[in-house]
Symmetry: C2
Subunit: 373 residues, 2 copies
Amino acid sequence: MDGGIGDISTPGRIAGPAEGVSPEELALAARNHGLLLEALRYDVTPPGLHYVLVHYDIPYADADTWQLTVDGRVRTALTLDLATLRSFPAVTHRVTMECAGNGRALLDPRPVSQPWLVEGVGTAEWTGVPLRTLLLAEAGVEPDAVEAVFTGADHGVERGVEQDYQRSLPLADALGRDPEVLVAYEMNGAPLPPQHGHPLRLVVPGWYGMAHVKWLRSITLTATPFTGFQQQVAYRYRQSAQEAGDPVTRIAPRALMIPPGFPDFMSRTRVVRPGRLLLEGRAWSGRAPVTRVEVSTDDGHGWYEAELAPAVGHGWAWRRWRAPWTATPGHHVLSVRATDAGGATQPLTQPWNRGGFANNLVQRVDVFCPEED
Amino acid sequence: MDGGIGDISTPGRIAGPAEGVSPEELALAARNHGLLLEALRYDVTPPGLHYVLVHYDIPYADADTWQLTVDGRVRTALTLDLATLRSFPAVTHRVTMECAGNGRALLDPRPVSQPWLVEGVGTAEWTGVPLRTLLLAEAGVEPDAVEAVFTGADHGVERGVEQDYQRSLPLADALGRDPEVLVAYEMNGAPLPPQHGHPLRLVVPGWYGMAHVKWLRSITLTATPFTGFQQQVAYRYRQSAQEAGDPVTRIAPRALMIPPGFPDFMSRTRVVRPGRLLLEGRAWSGRAPVTRVEVSTDDGHGWYEAELAPAVGHGWAWRRWRAPWTATPGHHVLSVRATDAGGATQPLTQPWNRGGFANNLVQRVDVFCPEED
């Protein structure tokens, strides 16, 4: 024993060829909850089915004594309790949130971390105070402020660094009107559950989950860019460990399908009866509105257009899509891909990076259609 | 392709030596939710933190049109809607529920199925109608009835057998007063969430989760024992694939610890400061009341008594325990074990069976205590 934290907290690594999922990855999968894909049927994900990713532990939080501080490059530093935050005009946004690591465990080679397949996603109605209200109307922003740094109450060690979870946003994003960043205290009309940040969290519509700091304790405006672990070390797109990499920010386009028919327990392969059925699911992008959804029923060789439900005023939430399919006896691989107004389309070959971020490779759903009886 | 279901649904198997967790096991871990162990702090598990195991898919269920039939060896067959069920006198029981497969992925060799470590557990307040009321007061039991068969709405294939999920109880258990079996429509004072059986499920206090049939559609009294897949093929204690095996029924004693200190993200190893701290957690048994909880801080060599909170009228729910520990610099393995009034104690060597059921091997929590700064 060397007596140091490095004993128990090692650098990130890439799994070796044919290396199965490790006990450490399994322990993370057992803690962090994915969306059961049949729950894509709901516009708003029911309680307990939204994905959950907790870096360290859920901290104990007492809403009655919780305080949020706003300080740094502000005119007036603030200390706000929940009652005060609830006294400001509230807004509610429906937001599709996705973990930046969604799709990681499908990469080859596999970055060793939380091993999501495709289920690290969910949609909720978040209610709270616009961050803009707190910063502009209440605290006042000093002219030299460039970023807002958000600190959560969850404490742990990551890659050798002991830390409270912290992330920053550029000031322009923190003060933006669309998307509008919230300091949220309700999820789907109820107080935040412990695992979603009780009693207070940040919600940054369109951004991957790492930006939505939970158990929010402080907001500090800074005159220089934040260089903390989660900003400069984690959550960067890198091909090699040495490069600085680009920051992970907004959600890449993705569509997912409700797996049709019924499953085999162990393989999760789907069974459908021969005949016509309706494929359906959801599509989203945090970068630009989804403009097109296509379906393939021959493992990505041919594609045809799905019907995309009209946008209904929830610009940062997923949209429903549907496409007919006539199942014939045999084995099939079904896929779906989204394209957004920025022209980005989900790739057919993996977009690999060392952190395993933003892998929006098209979903593949194995389906078996037996002969009619 | 042979055109048969056997193509996609294969027999149970045991992982080979040093075989990592397979993609199929990971897909199950990504769907089925475990308790985050820090949530052992709550008497009643908050929404979304209770374990979830869904054999097939969560079925779509409309509470307004849902019907429960009670038939077979009864005097009067019944068809009951939710409003009728809610019109009977309701009872509420606090119940600790645990998956029969909890602990499976720690077994060596590892049975390949849902790969729980220790987190397949949770406690909830369930409200509903005693099954006894429906069977005795409403339907009437024919003298030749021996079992009650419960059918859920979830449909799938398992080990080659297409099925609706079905389990039975001996009539004496179905009609028992303590534990009292419920047809439950509320969890923690709210309608059942989709993943917990909306709108109706069975609750069988003291039994492993497989008995608590979700999305309950029918109850059929039979004059002969039920021989369906989940009764005779799955959920049996077997050492070899050939033997009939004994049925999995009630929950073996177990204690779990809230992992102390704070974690490393990837290894989940805990970090604690040197000095005195309080270890705490929960203990339960579905076989007899827990009478003793002991803690070890030296990887199971020495044990000392924990303080067990008094029973408070919730005989089928976990009880809190506490034990002091003075952390010293170095690496430590903490464990806890429960003993029940039947004399059963958690084992220090794995209780192996092919299905990986009821593995209540003591929990091991790796802790690192750095030197004081």
